[in-house]
Symmetry: D4
Subunit: 218 residues, 8 copies
C-alpha cells in the first residue's frame, strides 16, 4: 500500500498519527482518514489544500475544518475529557494568525486549553506589557512572529515558563520566507526559548500540549 | 558601566541572569560574578574559556567548575531545596558530551534532576531501544546529536513527553558546524520535538528545568 | 541540430542515453525519442511534464508511461532477459512515492528486480524493524525521505549492503525543498550510506541497477 | 604607489578618508598615516591590529589609540569646534562594547556628541524602558546587538528619530558570526531602523555624525 | 480581535502605525483601515495587492492609491503643514521605480519634500555626475538599485549627507532576488551608507523623513 | 522621466546601451526602444517577455525577434560591416540552447561571427573530442552548461584561447537554479576559464564580441 | 560511561563500529580502542589527530597508522581472508591524496582490493582517457576531486559500474571548503554517480567495500 | 606516483601546467617543480606558503619569488620573446594588491605586458576618472576589488574592451570572505564584465594573457 499507518502511536506518544496533507494526492488523504476512522482513532490533518478540503468534505461532512489554519479534525464519537492546562498563543502581527490557529487547534484536540493574544509585536511594546499578568499565569507560551522575530525574546524575559517560538513566513526580501525570524529565535537572548520549524504552528501546539498534560498528570 | 545586571530576572523568570562568558574580557567576567555575589544571587556562567577560568579561580576558589562543559557555578550559601522532576539527557555520540554536560549542569543548578544516557546513536538502534522504559519515565528528554542529527526523531517516536533537540557542531564537511543537524531537528518527523541553537546545551537545560518546575509546582 | 545523441552510451555504460525532458520543448522531446527509436535503442525519459506526455502519446501510444513518477519508457521490440538482483526501495512517507517510483521504474527497465516498502519513517520505528529480514536479503537498498531525512541512517545500521539515500522535496519551511534531508543523508552516522541529488529517484535506481548487474555478472 | 589617497574627500564628504587598517601591512598603514599628516589632514584608522598599533606608536606617539575599539586617531594640531548634536549609542550586551566604542570614537572625531548606554538587552526590558526619556532626547540612536539582534526593534518603537542598527558577531552556532542579528535588523518591524554591516561601528558612527551635523548646520 | 492597533505610535514615534497589507486578507486590511480612520489617525498601507486595492476602493474611494508603488493613503481631513527638508531619491535603473515611488510616497505623507532622479546607474557615470550639485544640496539621499547595487557607493563618495541604500529585487541568476545588491550596499566602501531590507522603499522613505524632520525642528 | 538613456555608451564602450526588458512594463520597453531609434542608435533588448514582444511587434514589425532566446533587435537602417572573428558557442545539453542563442544573437549584432555546437556534454566525451580542431580554431569559446557545469573545464583543457563559461538554470534539486554550475565554473581547474552570471548568455556574447573586435582591429 | 560501543555492528552490518576520533579527547579514543580490542573486534579509527596518534602509539605500538590519511588500524590477530573485488580510486589532483588514502585504507581493511590512480583531472583529459581499460575493469570507481569536482562526471561517462564521488576541501574562494565540488557531483550529468560527504574518503571506501563483497559472495 | 604531470598542456593550451601549491606538502611541491624543470618546461607555482618557499629556495635559488603575491617562477634558460599586448590591472584598495600582483606576475610570465593602477576605488571617483585615457588604451582590464566590489562596473562603463573582475577577500562581516564582491561582479550592470573566483588573480592574469596573445598573433 501507499501508506503504513502507525496505529500504535497513540499508545507510545499519547496521540494518534497526524496526517500531513501536503505532498499527498486528495485521494490519498481521503483514504488515510478513512482508515484512521475505521481503526477507531481520532484523526487530525494539517496543511490541507482547498482541493483536499473538497474531497474530504464530500465523505466526512461532520468533521471540523478551519480553512485559515488549514486543519481538519475528525474525532471519534463520544465524550472527551475536560481540557487541561493553560497554553497561551501570542502573535506579533495579524499575518501570523493562520500559524497561531494551527497551534491552537492542535493543542485543543490534544486536550489542552489554548487561548490567543493577537498582534502585540515589539514595535508597540505597551501591547505585550499590558498582558504581563496573563503571561505570568500561563504554563507555556507559544509566540508566532515573522519579519524580525523579536517577540519571543521579549516574552521570554517576562515569564518563568518555557516559550515555544514559531517563526512565520510573513515578511519579504531578507526575511527569506521565515529564515530571518528562525535565526532570531534560535539565538534568543532569553534562555527559556525553544524553537520549531518555520510556520510549524502544529509542532508548537503539539509540544505545548505534551507539556501541560505532564503537568496535569502530576 | 560596562554591564547593567538584571537583578530582577530571578523574580520575573525564576532564575538569576546567567553570564555568557564568551565575548567578554576575563576582567569583565570576574567583575560581573563579583556583583552577582554581592547582590546575593546565585551565579552561573557558561562558555567560559581557559583564561577566564584562571581569573575566576583566583577570586572564587569555592566555585564548582566543569572544564569539559565550560560552566562555572557559584551558588549563594545555604541549603537548597531537593531536586525535582526527571530530565533525561541523551547523546548520539561521545563527542556530544560537552554539550550534554552543559545541559545537565544548567538543569541541576536550576533545581531539576538530570541524568545522562551517552552514545546511543541511530546507527546501532538497539542501544536506544534498550532504554525505552527509562525514556518513557522522563518528564522531558534532551537529545544532543551532531552529524545527521537523526536521534531526536527516533526518541520523539518513543515517548509522550516533549523532546528538546540540541544540534552539536560534531561532524565535518557538509555538517557545516552543526547546521545539518539543526535542519534535521527543525524538520523532525516526530511532532513533539522542539529545537535550540547549535551547541546550546545551556538553553536546553534551562527550558527543561522550567518545564519540570511547572510540573513540580502543580 | 539541437541535439547530439550519444548512441555509444549503451556500449560504454551499459544503458542508452536517458532523456531528461525538463527544460526541453515538447517538440524537442518527441524528436529525440524518435531518433532513439530509429537508432534501435531503448528510450527512457524522465521528469516528463503533462504537456510533453500529450505530445509523446500522440506519436508513441505503445509506450509505458507513469504519470506519478513522470517517466516514459519505449523499449525496442523483442524479448528482454529476466530481471536480476534485489533492489529494495523504501520510503519514509507517502509523499515520497513519486520519487520512489522513478527509482523503481529506472531500475526495472535496466533489468533489475525492484520492490517497494512504503511509509515506514522513523517516528514509528516498529514499521521498519518489522522489515528487518526483508532488508537483510536485499543487494542494495534505496531510501527516499524528505523532511528530516533520518530513515537512511536507521536503515544503514540494519544492513550489510550499500544504502542509496534520496532526499525528497517533501516538507516545508526549513526543509528548504529537500536541502535539510540532503544534508542529513550526507552526514549519516551509518557508514554505508551514499547520496544522490534531491528528488533524484532516477539516479538512485540507475546506480542500484549498475550494482546488481555487476553482482549478476560475477 | 601602493596607495592613491583621496585628499579631496574632506571637501566632498565633510571628513578625510579613513584608513581601513585590516588587510594592509603594518608598513603600509604607517606610510598612509604619514602622508595624511603631511597633507594636513586629520587621520582616523580603524580595525587596527596589535602589530599595526606597535608600528604606529613608534612613529606617532601623540596619537589617541583605543585598543578595545581598535581605533587610531591623529588629529591635525589646533583647536577643534565644540561637539554638536546628540548621538546615543546603546548596546544589548557587554560583549558588544568594542563595536559601540568604534561608533562613539568615530562620531566624536567627526564632531558629534556621543554617549553610551551599555547592556540593556531585551531579556530584561526594564533596563531600556528606564532610559525612555534619554532615548527620546537623542537626535539619532545607534543600537549594537549580537545574538538575536532584537534590541533595535524595541528601541525603534520608543523614539521618533532614526535608529542605526549594528549587528555584532557576538553569539555562537546559528548566530553565524552576526548574520542572524543582521537579518533581524534588516527585517525590523520598527520602520525607522536602518542597518550597517556586521561589527561596523565605524559606519554607524559616521552616518550618525553626518546626520547631526546636518541638524547643527540648519 | 485579529488586530491590536497601536494608536499611541503617533505620540511615541511621530507617525501612526502603517499597515503592511501583505499577508493579510483583504477583509482584514479594510477593517484595519476603518479602525484607523475611526481613531482619527492618518492611514498609510503598503505592499497592497490588486485584490486588496479593489476592496479598499469600494469603501474608501477618496484615498490616494498608487498601483505602481502599491501604496494606499487615507489622510485625516484638514490642512497639512508644508513639506520640509530635501529627500532625494535616486534609482540605478527604470525597474527600480516601484521601490523608489514607495519611498517617495512614504516620505511625503510624513511631511518631507521628496524628489526623484531616475535611471542614472554607474555603467553610464556621466548621468549621476551631471547631478552633483543637486546631490550636494540634499539633506539625505535614498539610492535604489538592483543587480550589482553599486550606485550607493558612488553617490556616497559625492555627498556629505547620509545615504540610505535600498537593494531591489531587479536582476536574475546570482542576483538572488536582491541579495547581491544588499551585500554590496552593506559592504559599501563609502562610509556614510546605511542599508534597509530588499525592496524596502517604505523603510528608506520613513527613516529619511525622520531625519529631515529632526533638521526642520532644530 | 522614467529613463535616462545613455546615448554616449556607443562612443565609450563600442555599442549602444542594451535594454534589459525584465522588470519593465511593456509600455516602458516600447518607449525606450522608440527613443533609441529616434536617437539613431541600434537597439537590442534582452529577456523580453511574451507580453512585451506583443507590444513591440505592434510598433516595430520590422525588428528581428527570437522567442527562444527572448531577444529583440532593431538595427539602424543601412549596410553593416562584415562580421569579424570566430566566436564558438558550445552547449552541454539541449536545454541550454536558449542561453546559447542569446549569446549568439548578441555577438552577431555586435559584429562578430558566432557559431553553435550543441549538446556535447561530458557524459559522452567523444562528442566534444570530435570537435577538437574546430575548437582549436576559435578566438574565444563560450560554453553554456547547467547541472554539474563540467563542460567548460574540459573545453578549457583543449584550447589556447579564453573560455567564457555561462552557468544555466537547467537542473533540479541541488542545482539551485544554476548555482551549482556557477560554482563549478568559478572553480574550474582549467586556468583560462572566466565566468558570467547564471543564464547570462547576453554577457558572454557581449564580452566575446569585445574580444574578437580587439583582435580584428589589431 | 562516555561510550556505548555497538559490538553487534559486525553481525548486522558486516564490519565492527569504526571510531570517529575527531571530537573525542585522546583519552576517550584510547579507551574506546582498548574496549574494542578486549571485545575481540578489529578496530579502525579515522580522522585521528597528531595528539591522538601519540597517545595511541604508546599503548598500541603494533597498530598500522597512516598519518597522511589520518587512519589507525588495529586488527585482531590471525590470518585474514584474501582481498576480493576491484575498487579503483582516482584523484583529480595531488592535493586529494589524503582523502583517497582514507578510502583505500578503509576498503582494504574491510577485505576489498583497492588501487590508486592519482592526479588525472579533466584539464588534461588524456590522463584519464589513457586509463580507460583499467577503468572498464573495475567493479566500482571512487573519484576524489576538489575545486570544480568535474572528474566524476567524466569517469561516469566511461564506465558501466557505479561511481562514488568524494568532494574534497581542496580549493579556495568560492570552492567553499568543498561545497562547490559537492554540488557538482550531486548534479553530475552521468547517471551512475552517487556522492558522499566532503572529504569522506572513509564513507566512499566503506560503501565500495560493501558493494564488492556482495559481488564476491554471489 | 602522487602526480601525473600534464606535459602536453603547453602544446594544447599555450602554457605549461601551473602548480597550485596549496594543499600539497612542501616535498610534493619541490618534486613537481623538479620534474617540470627536467622536462624542460617553464614552471610557475601559485599560492605558495612560507614553508614551501623555504624548501623551494634551498633547491632552486635562481627562481623568481614574490612573497606578497605568493608566486614562484622558474623559467627555462634562454631568451624570451618580447612581451605583447596591454593588460591593465586596477585595484580598488591597497589591500587588493597581493591579488593584483598574482595577476600581473602570471600575465608577464605568459608573455604579456601588464601594468598596475592601485587604490582607485569608487568612493573617490576622480581617481579612476583621471585614468580614463590609460584605460581606453588597454586591450583588457583586470579589476581587483573586495568589500562592495563596485569598481569593475564603473570601469566597464568607461572602456570598449573586456573587463575581468577579481573579487578579493578584503572586507569583514557581510563581505563573507569575498562573496559580496563576487556577487556584485557577476551582476555587474556593465555588459563586458566577466568574473573569476575570489582572490584568483592567477586566473585573471592567465585569461588576460590568452586574450592579448590572440590579438598579437592576428
Ligand atoms: N571518517 C568518518 N566519517 C563519517 N563517519 C564516521 C567516520 N569514522 C567513523 N564514522 C562513524 O561515526 C560513528 C561513531 O561515532 P561516535 O559514537 O561519536 O564514535 C560510527 O558509527 C562510524 O560509522
Ligand atoms: N550559553 C549561553 N547561550 C546562550 N545564551 C546565554 C548563554 N549563557 C548566558 N546566556 C544569556 O546571555 C545573556 C547575557 O548576555 P550578556 O549581557 O552579554 O552577559 C543572559 O541574558 C543569558 O540569558
Ligand atoms: N592559483 C590557482 N588558482 C586556480 N587554479 C590554479 C592555480 N594555480 C594552478 N592552478 C591550476 O590547478 C591545476 C593543478 O592542480 P594540481 O594537479 O592539484 O596541481 C593546474 O591545472 C592549474 O591550471
Ligand atoms: N571599519 C571600516 N569599515 C568599513 N569601511 C571602512 C572602515 N574603515 C575605513 N573604511 C573605508 O575604507 C576605505 C579605505 O579603503 P583602503 O583604500 O583599502 O584603505 C575608505 O574609503 C573608508 O571609507
Ligand atoms: Mg500589527
Ligand atoms: Mg558512538
Ligand atoms: Mg506516513
Ligand atoms: Mg547583559
Ligand atoms: Mg537604465
Ligand atoms: Mg544531451
Ligand atoms: Mg595535477
Ligand atoms: Mg584606498
Amino acid at each position: 500500500g501507499f501508506a503504513t499507518l502507525d496505529f500504535q502511536r497513540r499508545e507510545r506518544c499519547g496521540f494518534p498519527e497526524v496526517v500531513l496533507a501536503e505532498g499527498k494526492t486528495a485521494d490519498w488523504v481521503v483514504q488515510v482518514v478513512r482508515r484512521m476512522r475505521e481503526a477507531g482513532q481520532d484523526c487530525l490533518a494539517t496543511r490541507v489544500s482547498g482541493e483536499q478540503f473538497q474531497h474530504l468534505a464530500a465523505e466526512f461532512p461532520q468533521a471540523e475544518v478551519d480553512h485559515l489554519a488549514r486543519t481538519f479534525w475528525l474525532p471519534t464519537p463520544g465524550d472527551r475529557p475536560p481540557l487541561v492546562g493553560d497554553v497561551l498563543v501570542v502573535t506579533a502581527g495579524t499575518g501570523d494568525l493562520p500559524v497561531a490557529y494551527e497551534a491552537i487547534n492542535t493543542a485543543r484536540v490534544m486536550g489542552a486549553n489554548a487561548e490567543l493574544i493577537a498582534d502585540v509585536g515589539v514595535a508597540g511594546l505597551h501591547r505585550i506589557l499590558r498582558k504581563r499578568d496573563r503571561l505570568a499565569a500561563a504554563d507555556v507560551v507559544i509566540v508566532c512572529a515573522g519579519m524580525d522575530g523579536a517577540l519571543p525574546s521579549v516574552v521570554g524575559g517576562l515569564v518563568d515558563c518555557p516559550v515555544i517560538a514559531v517563526p512565520t513566513s510573513i515578511g519579504y526580501g531578507a526575511a527569506f520566507g521565515g529564515v530571518a525570524a528562525l535565526l532570531t529565535m534560535l539565538n534568543s537572548c532569553s534562555a527559556g526559548v525553544v524553537t520549531v520549524n518555520i510556520d510549524a504552528g502544529f509542532k508548537a501546539g503539539y509540544a505545548a500540549a505534551l507539556m501541560v498534560r505532564k503537568i496535569a498528570k502530576s
